[in-house]
Symmetry: D2
Subunit: 465 residues, 4 copies
């Protein structure tokens, strides 16, 4: 729940191509539905028949856009992006979509993911005399497409895909087409929707629901889908794909009402909770979820175990991103501003406290303390994913290894550190076998990444020379 207490998804992307309707408002509603994927900046680029107009700004989509500026974005094809930004001074420069102009063509691009060979590619491009105006690896993709453009758009994208390594779900807007691309490991999600004569692309299917569109299918690993007035065309790389979608989309990032690669996020979480109850049963009086991240798993745990569930922690709905933090010495207040314990409910009870993951451990420690100070007799913590032990190089903002409590301590040590009466994490095996997530990336748990990562790599290499 707290800042720094959850892994952070880095972006959400959205695209729309219509034969008959203006798309800016639908892109805006789509970005709102994807807002959980990034709250630092929002942007929309629309092709108006002559040129691409782009508006982006810092903040939520509701803060960046209003009726006035959405009306300026007049056109039937466009893309949007929400971003969780990672650096300070030059945020707005790195906001997306990126818009470029070359060979009389306009191109706008929005990217969710992270390239692991960005440094090599950028050095190479700079050696050719090309200039970069952002510190974002997404600009590399733009350059590579431009460089190969004389081969044709699709071929240029294919050639780019052969060169870039890492995770990428891309939506690209050109003068004539809306294009969606997913990397050969399909690490980050991307799906296709339709309503009437309008096609949509989105990071998650929940963005289709809000505008009344239907989920058609997911973009597949290594696939390029090109949407124009003749409909959808699909192109493939001639390489072998190896599906390894990010498991954390199911664990925490994605909205429960989304369906990713054919699996309901809510039901997957429910199953994780059930499995957790099988792996680590306990006699207790009440299952309490950490709001909102632990709710679905808690329900699963409750259904499987028969222990009733209750709202032992109550969230203040009116605390936004900005509030005045109390003094250092008064850290407890920081948690209580957001969450309060329902003393009447937890008093003298044995509690099973459920959350999706533990990153640094500081918030979980405060929650256990909050429940105990509210009168709970025992607090047994159950986590619906394995301990996070490794950094992610594929689009998730993980703290350094030494900040990860799972990398520093054994489960028993963590239990002591957070003051719980017992602690259990879901097993990797349970996650893969029992929940049916066979082909997933579990790099953050076991270091097995879809692609080999050079040592000492950091994805923010351009931001600190």
């Amino acid at each position: 729940m707290g800042n720094g207490e959850k892994l952070k998804e880095e972006c959400g992307v959205f695209g729309a191509f219509s034969l008959s309707s203006l798309v800016a408002f639908n892109i805006y509603y789509g970005l709102q539905a994807l807002q959980h994927r990034g709250q630092e900046s929002a942007g929309i680029a629309v092709y108006d028949g002559e040129k691409v107009n782009c508006i982006k700004g810092l903040g939520l989509a509701t803060e960046v856009f209003n009726k006035g500026n959405l009306k300026v974005l007049e056109g039937k094809m466009g893309i949007g992006h929400v971003r969780y930004s990672t650096t300070g001074s030059n945020d707005i420069v790195n906001a997306q979509p990126l818009v470029a102009n070359f060979r009389k063509e306009y191109m706008a691009l929005a990217h969710n993911g992270n390239l692991i060979n960005a440094e090599e590619l950028r050095n190479q491009l700079e050696d050719e005399g090309r200039i970069f105006q952002t510190t974002s690896d997404s600009e590399i993709i733009l350059h590579l497409i431009a460089k190969n453009f004389q081969k044709g758009l699709i071929e240029a994208i294919q050639e780019t895909m052969r060169q870039i390594k890492g995770s990428y779900a891309l939506v690209i807007l050109t003068d004539h087409k809306l294009i969606g691309v997913r990397d050969v490991n399909s690490i980050r999600p991307l799906c296709i929707g339709k309503k009437g004569d309008t096609y949509f692309l989105a990071s998650e299917s929940c963005a289709f629901d809000v505008i009344g569109a239907k989920l058609i299918r997911d973009v597949e690993a290594g696939e390029i889908v090109a949407i124009d007035k003749n409909g959808i065309n699909s192109f493939r790389l001639e390489v072998e794909e190896k599906k390894m979608p990010c498991v954390f989309e199911y664990i925490y990032f994605a909205r429960p009402d989304s369906v990713i690669d054919g699996k309901s996020v809510y039901f997957t979480r429910l199953e994780m909770g059930k499995r957790l109850a099988i792996e680590s049963p306990i006699e207790a009086d009440l299952v309490v979820p950490v709001p909102d991240s632990g709710v679905a798993a808690a329900r699963g745990y409750s259904l499987q175990s028969g222990i009733p569930m209750g709202e032992g922690l109550i969230k203040n709905k009116y605390i936004g991103r900005t509030f005045i933090a109390p003094d250092q010495k008064d850290r407890e207040t920081g948690v209580k501003i957001k969450l309060n314990v329902l003393k009447e409910l937890v008093k003298s009870k044995k509690i099973v406290l459920i959350d999706d993951s533990i990153v640094r451990g500081t918030t979980m420690k405060r929650l256990v303390n909050l429940l105990k100070s509210g009168g709970a007799k025992e607090v047994h913590v159950r986590i619906s994913s394995p301990p996070v032990k490794y950094s992610c190089y594929f689009g998730i903002d993980t703290p350094t290894k030494k900040e990860l409590i799972g990398a520093r301590m054994s489960v028993e040590e963590i239990r002591k550190a957070i003051g719980a009466d017992s602690l259990h994490f879901l097993s990797i095996e349970g996650l893969k076998k029992n929940i049916g997530l066979e082909s997933i990336c579990t790099g953050c748990f076991d270091g097995n990444y879809p692609l080999e990562v050079s040592k000492g790599k950091s994805k923010y290499l351009f931001e600190k020379k």
Copy 2:
């Protein structure tokens, strides 16, 4: 959930008196915890030993206050107020606390409630040549205290209480005392907390939890509590009190983690849900709450009926108060921006949909439709309170009678209007007898008000001449 779809509480009040600590930050955290009672304006007044400094503004407490202006409010005693405002142009003028200066004394006042004889009192005061600078009935209270002040502060307040009729939970700040007052029917809540040598007053006990204070007791009907360096003194009116606290605090307004007049709000809601299951049982597959207002009652219904509960409706956490509403013709999108149906969960199921109340009925109709379009086989609506049929004159913003669907239609007609397969409201008897709310005001359900209300009265009488 939607604007205009819920009755609106009008205010929250908070007060602090300390022997040793500055109070502005604690008042700020208290107001944040009471933010659900009013989001339109926030204000804090602090006595600095010489004079009262007051800062108020439109918006949430987090928007009005920052570290800089809270530091300006230096002092050991102060009060705060959050307000749901009801008029347009001159909002800020009506924001509270009101600050007045008379006979070398400073006085600041924050009021939750509504006077029903405001017009008569104001006419009388104006006839005496007194001037009013706001359209708020709270200013009348200030005038009456000032007018009777030569009798002494407590006597002046008692004399004022003899003259004003209606609901009022007041916190008053003077040069030497912090005072709390509750009307003789104790319609609006007010309670006392303590931490170290600091006393607090608040509309709800959840505001004490956030700052680590303990709930001592509620201010009683007709009681004046005066807090100064010697501790708490209690004063009474010599009239007979008749406790009739507002039932809607339990049904919807108050936070579930508050305890009002000795009863836990969460447990009262749980009981309402259980009673609802007894009054109107049904065979079904899934209990679905309307988030967040129906959650506690749904849990009660599920526990009593044995039907499992599930998150069939998913809320977008990032939609704040301001967002761009879709066109009139596209009303469905308006609901979907805030809530999405979890199709995988509700598909082909018989659903019991639980909410706390129905006001106009338009949102409930859309939610039933949303569930059905998501594949629900049947939708049975259960409401954990009786139909709202009468306007409130005691501090709640109710629509006009003809906008209240409960006043216009029978239950069966409402069922048809909202498209539900069955509909049941909790009975008044069930509410009173079975849940133990014997002495409450049920005026909005049956027109039985604690005090007689003149016909044709409107509480905003000063705003439209």
Copy 3:
């Protein structure tokens, strides 16, 4: 020119009464023309036929008002106010117009001036149990009118005038009338204008020019003018008036294009410059005005002496009220940001530097230094008013006596302090006799005030207890 380097006028007032036209936009343009009289807050109150709507805010009229909120102020009679505020925390509370409601009547009031018996009056009113919500002496006037209202509006105002002492130019808006009042010494200006069937009141006639209205006449000492659908009615107090208008309106405050009490401000300044050349002639090469305050007097000096005038100091037009001040140690930059010396023009020349007044002397010292560092051979300072030696109690914000360089030093000492080669101030006699300002208040020069001022009085008595 610099902050703190000029005496500050405290307010400008404006009123409009029309039989046929909406007045908000004209009041707005009028306030813009009066903006030099106060830049801290602006407000407009308009009677819409039912009630008074009032919008006020901190900042310039252009910052507070926009087309949207001006349209809300719909009505044919209204008043406006611009204010130079003197305190920090509760500025907006003291912004005017003040709006009050009593005996079914609305009243709005805007005041330019200062009462010297405010403390006594306020004590008296508070003893009667009346409450004050601002620290402004203007609220006293509202109370007194309300208290005496049963005698009739005009009689109530007359009774109020008998009790209040000090300076006041008032515009008052009631349900039926627009009223202008000027104190018995006519210290602050107020004049009447007309265009078609609309009457206007304004602090200065330049506010009529912008809206195409004609100056009819000044409101006279002790006069009440009441404008309603039957035209203008004039009422008098039965006391003897003694005209002593503020001389600083002519010297510095008023706009040069205004005519006050029959005398052109520009020509009066021109005459001051001419008289200065007669009183203290010098052989020199160039007359340089301090922009913009010394321009008219410099022209007069140049015309009388025959010495050519030139723009030796160039002003940066884009420095507004807010800019980042350089470090303490780099004070010179502070002046240079606003003014630059035209080195090519002043080099090796004997300069006569003209300004209207010297308050603290720090800026004048920097300007002399700036000219000398730009190559000027000699700098002879000529000031078109006598040294300011006494505080004003009648509506001007003067520093304390010990901050006034004229109160602390002789002319020769000032000359040394500012580094000038010679220095001359216009004589009081010259000002009165030769320029024809016989009946004026020269209190700030010689302590001769229109009314006796109690010792130790401060006009901000309510703001610091």
Copy 4:
């Protein structure tokens, strides 16, 4: 004076290189002094020893910068830019400095001027697969330097200068050097200043005065100056320069306290006024300048003719860039908000009204009318430059030819259109011969440009495809 009534300069540039001091505050003060050259956006880029940090925003320098963000820009070398922007939607994208990264080098660039072969160059660069992210021709310069960078920085700039055609005063920041470049015709100004061990570059010398630096010399036509820790190095193109600086810098754009290419702007304007009095003498009572653009020429006219000068038009100092324009039908008010006639001064007089130029003629018509309605007997207009008849392609925002009154009408027709009793423009010959501006660009008067301009060219070619 009015919007659209003056030709618009497009940019101001500033640079600083210090051995010992931080430069951000000095760049900020420099930009303030250059603010008249562009009010739409402001930006500063500073090299912090590792990378370039850049902050830019829409508005004045005082609006974009504050102490907080200036402190972030920590470093001893940096550049700044103020811009008058010409398009709507994507303003902030085109704000400068532009920052690029290539071959491990940072480069920031600020440009005043306009390239006339931008379209050809951009096509060529796009054909090579390069991408553009702005619509500004300045980005072309960045690409060309990057493309040629392997030859060395200076050589790359020289090669770039061989390819680009048009006007450019450039300041360039690299990891090690601050560079200034001026085109071979030295169309736009650029000069070098020094204070202690800090070198400065600026569009105008007035920017040196504010920070206490001394003007060393101008950058010469076709010169590159490179400033590093070893001091200044100068490089030349091997082509022949042909000095043709823009005459409008002297007529209107530059601040009067600047010295450009050795000539004082103020004195040049004074001479223009004197020459005007010789070319078109008239018997009159008063010389009135249009504030502020006509002041220096009016003084020259007055000195030469012996006719006294007076402030017949008074400017409202508080009208900023944003104010509510009156209705179409009430255009007169639009002028009066900014300027008022001093009726007492102009009444019954023969007036010589002086301004620097006439562009569309609408404002001049209103000013003549304003003077006449104020009682002036005759109004004789004298303009201190020739009629503007041709568009500028070298960095000035001129209206289309058919909007230029000088292109559409003879002098006599213009006289009638503006309602003047007589009208005279300064002759081109007078400007060149008598004022000593032999080698200047007079393209806007006679179409003789320094470089051949292709027909149908527009400088905003990238903004509308």
